[in-house]
Symmetry: C2
Subunit: 398 residues, 2 copies
Amino acid sequence: MAKINKNYNKLQAGYLFSEITKRTKAFQTNNPGVEIMRLGIGNTTEALPPSIIKGLRIGVEKLAQASTYTGYTDEQGDKRLRQALSDRYKKRGISAGAAEIFISDGAKPDTANIQSIFDVKSTVAVQDPVYPVYVDSNIIAGKKEIYYMVCEEKNGFIPSPPGKKVDLIYLCSPNNPTGAVATKAQLKKFVDYALNFKSIIIFDAAYSEYIQDPKLPRSIYEIPGSSKCAIEINSFSKSAGFTGVRLGWTVVPIGLITETSGPGKVNELWNRRQTTMFNGASNIAQEGGLAALSLEGQRECKKIIEYYMDNAKVIKQGLKSLGIVVFGGMNAPYLWIKTPRSLSSWEFFDKLLSEAHVVGTPGSGFGPHGEGYFRFSAFGHKENVQKAVRNIKKNLKL
Amino acid sequence: MAKINKNYNKLQAGYLFSEITKRTKAFQTNNPGVEIMRLGIGNTTEALPPSIIKGLRIGVEKLAQASTYTGYTDEQGDKRLRQALSDRYKKRGISAGAAEIFISDGAKPDTANIQSIFDVKSTVAVQDPVYPVYVDSNIIAGKKEIYYMVCEEKNGFIPSPPGKKVDLIYLCSPNNPTGAVATKAQLKKFVDYALNFKSIIIFDAAYSEYIQDPKLPRSIYEIPGSSKCAIEINSFSKSAGFTGVRLGWTVVPIGLITETSGPGKVNELWNRRQTTMFNGASNIAQEGGLAALSLEGQRECKKIIEYYMDNAKVIKQGLKSLGIVVFGGMNAPYLWIKTPRSLSSWEFFDKLLSEAHVVGTPGSGFGPHGEGYFRFSAFGHKENVQKAVRNIKKNLKL
């Protein structure tokens, strides 16, 4: 008498991107031959740089010889890779030991699965608008109470800590979708809150390498006290073009404590979760990650990030020249647009598609406070981005 | 006031393999210079064959050029790979469409995560002894009732369906750890049971390619009616040496029904689970998987399987010559040994390690009915396996 998990019925019907695909396809069917340009999805488009390709090749060639072949290896991730990440944190003045770092197949699975180690009765705070995975994963697991922290123009899209006690707080900075980046002072408020209420912050730093302003924190661990209350999740997807290669990591400090557990326990639980329900990242991807963290790899990755950030500038300037209000895009690959003439997010989507043949992402798809906003992504080939912006400037009727 | 998920405390303390590592290390410390041989863990050891290496190289080189680079792709998996799997099922007389196949990073995550789409109140039946992931993943998720189906010598280690109604039934055939393979008649009993009670069978076929006897079913879908009641999980790990590359798949038939859902729904739920909490298998691994399914790839993989099965023969003959009772190893890479002189599984582990310097896996680690048994694995370099068997024959005091 098998029954389904009814929590799935509580999820917002249809994922944002499937509705976008549907409307785009309908437009294409009705307008054959019209070229559609995409400034929408956060998907990397540029080739992997030489040193990473070299690393991936090493990964493959090792598997071709019995003497270097590896099957299952260290379940927490290649020790060399964890050490290289630890060393990078160290250079930034952060102590995160190899035993505190867990290699995974990406930040999305980790942000989705991390809730497993916390009580099903946990209350959960998220930003609104928000990356949907935080909310959906908690609802699927049966968590009942989601507290939305409003991100709006008047707080610069960075909320204050919740006005009530919550157990888990998801923060994404640089933010998807708003492109806003929390300052150290803003993050300190959350760390103080978490230390006070023994809450756990789950800090999604997937876009940290897009930060240009050296004063802005690229890790929650730049805030004193955070290693007692914060888990940090990061990824090679956006920093090294690994969206399809699949590699990420999560830092679970030994010193983390909860109301019901002392030092070491949360780290141990995440280890248990991962060794039970995951089987390690691809050894090929891990060789690639190691190459990405080399000096040459870091230099090459930085150039690709600059390439995307140049796209962000092109989009920002183009839209501003039309009098459109644009946020983000300075320290993040996302631009957050206030829709002109108070159009709804989906009204602007349709207008942009039909007039300029450009596809973007309706802000309302990220939560109620995304309504009236629109997300552009800086990922894309420069020529395509330039063309899309030209088309918007020429054809969008404001 | 964050609290941990207390279900983790209900898991058997310490994973089987960490205890093995601990005792092995202790022996090494006390006996420096002694060479330890491993016939224990189910980890592949032989190099990937040329056609798969070629496929993986293609995967890497595609990422080196912007024109062939891919980031996120089809979330359900590369359509070509799903079609190739569908075609292989078709050759075997099974209808499994590309829309029913979900590519993943391995069978372990899928067997662990599949429970997410079913009611937390589901009752779960598993074989005893059993691959620990089925039980642990359900306990972590808060499922309360586990029904153990006894596998023992008198039923040939293949149980009958539960004597009471259960919602979910995990079956692994060829079995890890016992190496037993269910016949069509035996599987039919489970399918009849599931159709009768609207239960769902979760069929772990990760070792299917090790079946030598053409009469034995390599898929649950060889049993009529099964596409209404069975999910099948499989992997490239053991069939193509992908333990470190990470690639698997799950078949969720459109026609599957539960008590609370009609056709299509379970497929849709797994799609929702995977698109929310997973982000696709590595595109490099998927190119490798495609190569593994080519005619040449299949021929090469078969040779590697024969290599491991030759190891199984060597182990089986060696142990039998000592008068030890050995099951399995005919259609599976695992051999299931009745410990001599009624030793407990861990007593035999210690004896084998201290006298023959060979590490295996205590059967009791797989469940109460594994007590008094011991698992050997056929994975390993031929020379090492031969040496281990020679050492057992020479030094094990029976």
